[in-house]
């Protein structure tokens, strides 16, 4: 018998349908994958199960008995635990407090927080993950993104009172994790499974899903398309179910030769975060940057963009040092950048898609005296939206209403706006579905074939190997080596991160 069964789940946001009669059932002790393209409704059903979004209609049973989920506490009492898609941390609270967020704190003297016990509980949760390097008393803001994710995972492992955790729901937990951290997570998932709990697992990484999941339910356009045992199916079928078409889960091969001309050159670069970085990238070349969490991959991009001030060294972009002075100069010189955290650093969530896409290109869209032409704005954004296959309710929709993957596409569309000659991409496919990923890879290849140089980071190692010509390895803020990707395996690459 199923542990949790939900059926007839519908939800619409002021007219836009997110879920339409969707269904999901989860057996005890299984790892159940929930898959679907961006915007298919995965996060929405998860928020409904968590009691933080109200469904328009739903029939839920637990152990065969009908239940309601009207708020977060009720969901908790049913034994459901959540890691939501976006990293929702409270930066100025301590790690321990973030882990205990929403749960009653242990008390002494009736009212006051018992900090020792609080820290101990948080510690215990982290220990279950075999994480020992995180101090529970420091502020969450000081953790690296990967550690923040581990913190959120630890939070689900806390059991307060006699409410046994029976289902762990993880919405794209590995999107912000490095390979090694992901492995740790998979171990934990295995242990949780052994203890009899179920896991509902959302990810756009096919390999992960094939590796750790038992069954899969596929959503498309808010509807449940199918549920399969993963042993009875394969990647291609799942992708077909998701997209309704045939998409390859692979990397479009390079079709043109790397150019001769050096476009980007960094010499002995040093900023507050990185040092000893030096490399060249030719037109038509793709350089990857890899390393353990926070080894300085993103910081290299920030230095190239001119965000972090250079303390030493030199960066030239098509021969000019000016282009790397500040972001505004960089964009003007046809450098485009995709930030790591799209919500915090990339998007104006409350504003329209068209405004988000056009932001760096306003100059070019306006007449004399800075007067804008609405028509030009609209056309420009439309064309780019089409190019990245953006799924939206129109260019005037606000970005917060888009699913995560489509938000990423908006950021991508912006970067492609002005025929960039240098693309700086920090985790360009984070949270993007297979189909869209392939689209993005294709776009990167296209730009590259047109003579652009690309520098990208990714925690998805196969992606780096599949897309890049060379990979620069960072270790603790310093450049370690640059290796060719021909014949490189993910395991080889991972090994380079350690001594």
């Amino acid at each position: 018998m199923s542990f949790l069964e939900v059926a007839h789940v519908s939800k619409s946001y002021s007219g836009a349908i997110a879920l339409k009669d969707a269904r999901l059932d989860i057996a005890p002790g299984e790892v159940h994958a929930l898959m679907g393209e961006n915007g298919a409704g995965k996060s929405t059903i998860i928020k409904i199960l968590a009691g933080v979004t109200a469904a328009d209609s739903m029939a839920a049973t637990i152990d065969g008995k009908p239940v309601t989920i009207s708020d977060a506490q009720e969901s908790y009492r049913h034994g459901l635990r959540f890691i939501h898609q976006e990293l929702n941390i409270v930066p100025h609270l301590s790690v321990a407090e973030n882990i205990m967020l929403g749960l009653p704190y242990p008390r002494r003297f009736g009212a006051l927080v018992d900090w020792s016990k609080l820290n101990a509980m948080a510690r215990a949760a982290l220990d279950k993950l075999q994480v020992s390097h995180i101090d529970t008393r420091i502020k969450a803001a000081r953790l690296s993104t990967g550690d923040q994710m581990l913190m959120k995972i630890a939070a689900t492992l806390i059991s307060a009172g006699d409410n046994m955790a029976r289902l762990y729901v993880m919405d794209e937990p590995t999107a912000a994790l490095t390979g090694a951290e992901s492995r740790k997570l998979f171990q934990v998932i295995e242990e949780l499974k052994q203890s009899g709990a179920s896991i509902l697992y959302v990810s756009h990484r096919m390999n992960e899903v094939m590796e750790i999941c038992d069954r899969v339910t596929v959503f498309r356009d808010g509807q449940t398309i199918a549920t399969r045992n993963l042993s009875d199916t394969d990647k291609n079928e799942v992708i077909h179910l998701m997209t309704g078409r045939d998409v390859k889960d692979s990397y479009p091969p390079r079709r043109t030769a790397v150019g001769e001309e050096i476009l980007l050159e960094a010499k002995a670069l040093r900023t507050v975060q990185v040092r000893d970085v030096g490399f060249q990238v030719n037109r038509g070349e793709i350089l990857g940057i890899a390393g353990l969490a926070d080894a300085g991959q993103s910081a290299v991009l920030l230095a190239l963009l001119g965000v972090d001030r250079m303390q030493a060294g030199q960066v030239t972009i098509h021969g000019s040092p000016v282009a790397a002075k500040n972001p505004s100069a960089a964009w003007r010189n046809h450098v485009a950048y995709i930030p790591r955290e799209r919500r915090r650093e990339g998007l104006m969530l409350q504003r329209r898609i068209v405004d988000n896409i056009n932001l760096p290109h306003l100059q070019k869209l306006s007449f004399a005296a800075g007067l804008l032409s609405r028509r030009r704005e609209r056309r420009f954004a439309d064309a780019l939206g089409k190019k990245v296959r953006l799924k939206s309710g129109g260019m005037n929709q606000a970005c917060y209403q888009l699913s995560g993957g489509n938000q990423q596409k908006v950021v991508f569309a912006r970067a492609l706006g002005d025929a960039p000659e240098l693309l700086l991409l920090d985790e360009p496919t984070r949270g993007v579905d297979v189909g869209a990923k392939f689209d993005i890879y294709t776009l990167i290849r296209e730009r590259s074939a047109e003579g652009a140089a690309v520098v990208m980071t990714s925690s998805d190692l196969p992606e780096l190997i599949g897309m890049c010509d060379r990979i620069l390895i960072m270790r603790e803020g310093a450049q370690h080596s640059i290796i060719e990707t021909d014949g490189l395996s993910p395991a080889d690459l991972l090994a380079k991160f350690y001594d």
């Binding site: 002021s14 760096p360 005296a369 800075g370 804008l372």
Partner: protein, 320 residues
């Protein structure tokens, strides 16, 4: 339907208020003359609120506009009293506004002081300066040239069938011009678009190549400029300048912008919406006084009416 009501709740509220006064003051409220009066009464607040929109678009605000308005009036009057021509006094006052605004922008944008603290500090400083320059006194009478005070009394005559039908006050016309200018800049230029981007996500705007610091400075300067215009209009209207006369403008201007914000989908300020905010404040004052409502009860009513108007539009819209 419901969402329309939510969006335009504040506008509906405004219309309801007008309808109410029309009904209760059938003879005097809905007349061209009264509306011209209202337009003139709110013109100073309007100019300050319109230009306040520049900084509020970025999610900042400027508490110093009131004392800047006073300072601008004092500056002009002081020069008048020393025999300088009207143009010189006005120019100096406007320069003072721009300078003060840049100073605010510098504190907020370059030094990184929170706008509330920074402009509270300059509020105190500008006000102290106004007092110090004027020695705390009101400057009036012979010291204020007739051409200057005449501006606020004058207007464009509109003749109908050969007889003088109406006089559209210069003050109202000036406010309209400022409205048009602010609208153009905010809605139709890349400068304005970028201010909205800063308000939408400062970090994202910066990483997308927007020159955030410079723009923020410029926006504060424009707000200071507007405050100075407002101060001059005020001084012209009362044919005098004293170091506190602008202080009432600040909270009202911010309130007007916020009232307007309830009407935009994503809660960002729009200058046309600010106009509705200003009108609500002005009409309530005018209508309730005409109805001889006790001044204290009037205050309570104004608060309650504003909240009701806003509440209907914001239910479930903003999280914060």
């Amino acid at each position: 339907m419901i969402s329309l009501f939510k969006r335009y709740g504040t506008l509906v509220g405004f219309i309801a208020i007008v309808a109410f006064f029309w009904f209760n003051l059938p003879d005097t409220f809905m007349t061209a003359r009264n509306w011209l009066n209202i337009s003139q009464q709110i013109s100073m607040l309007a100019v300050v609120a319109f230009t306040m929109t520049f900084v509020m678009v970025m999610g900042d605000f400027d508490l110093s506009v009131g004392s800047m308005a006073s300072l601008s009036g004092i500056t002009a009057a002081l020069l008048f009293s020393q025999g300088y021509p009207v143009a010189a006094g006005v120019a100096a006052a406007l320069a003072m506004g721009i300078l003060g605004g840049f100073f605010n922008g510098f504190l907020v944008s370059i030094l990184g002081i929170l706008p509330f603290v920074a402009t509270l500090g300059t509020l105190t400083m500008f006000s102290g300066l106004a007092f110090w320059l004027s020695d705390g006194k009101t400057i009036f009478g012979r010291d204020i040239p007739k051409t200057f005070s005449g501006f606020a009394r004058g207007g464009v005559d509109i003749e109908l069938a050969g007889t003088l039908a109406l006089k559209i006050p210069y003050l109202s016309i000036l406010a309209l011009l400022v409205l048009a200018a602010v609208w153009l800049v905010l809605e139709q230029t890349s400068f304005g678009r970028r201010l909205y981007a800063i308000g939408g996500n400062y970090e994202a705007a910066r990483l997308a190549g927007v020159k955030v610091r410079r723009l923020r400075m410029a926006a504060f300067a424009l707000t200071g400029f507007g405050a100075a215009i407002g101060g001059l209009m005020y001084a012209s209207r009362v044919a005098s300048a004293n170091p506190t006369q602008g202080s009432g403008l600040m909270l009202d201007a911010i309130a007007a912008v916020f009232l307007g914000m309830t009407m935009s989908e994503e809660g960002e300020p729009r200058v046309l919406a600010t106009l509705v905010g200003v009108l609500i404040l002005g009409v309530l004052d005018n209508g309730l006084t005409q109805m001889s409502v006790d001044s204290y009860i009037r205050e309570i009513l104004v608060g309650a009416i504003i909240l009701t108007a806003v509440a209907s539009s914001s239910v479930g819209k903003f999280r914060r």
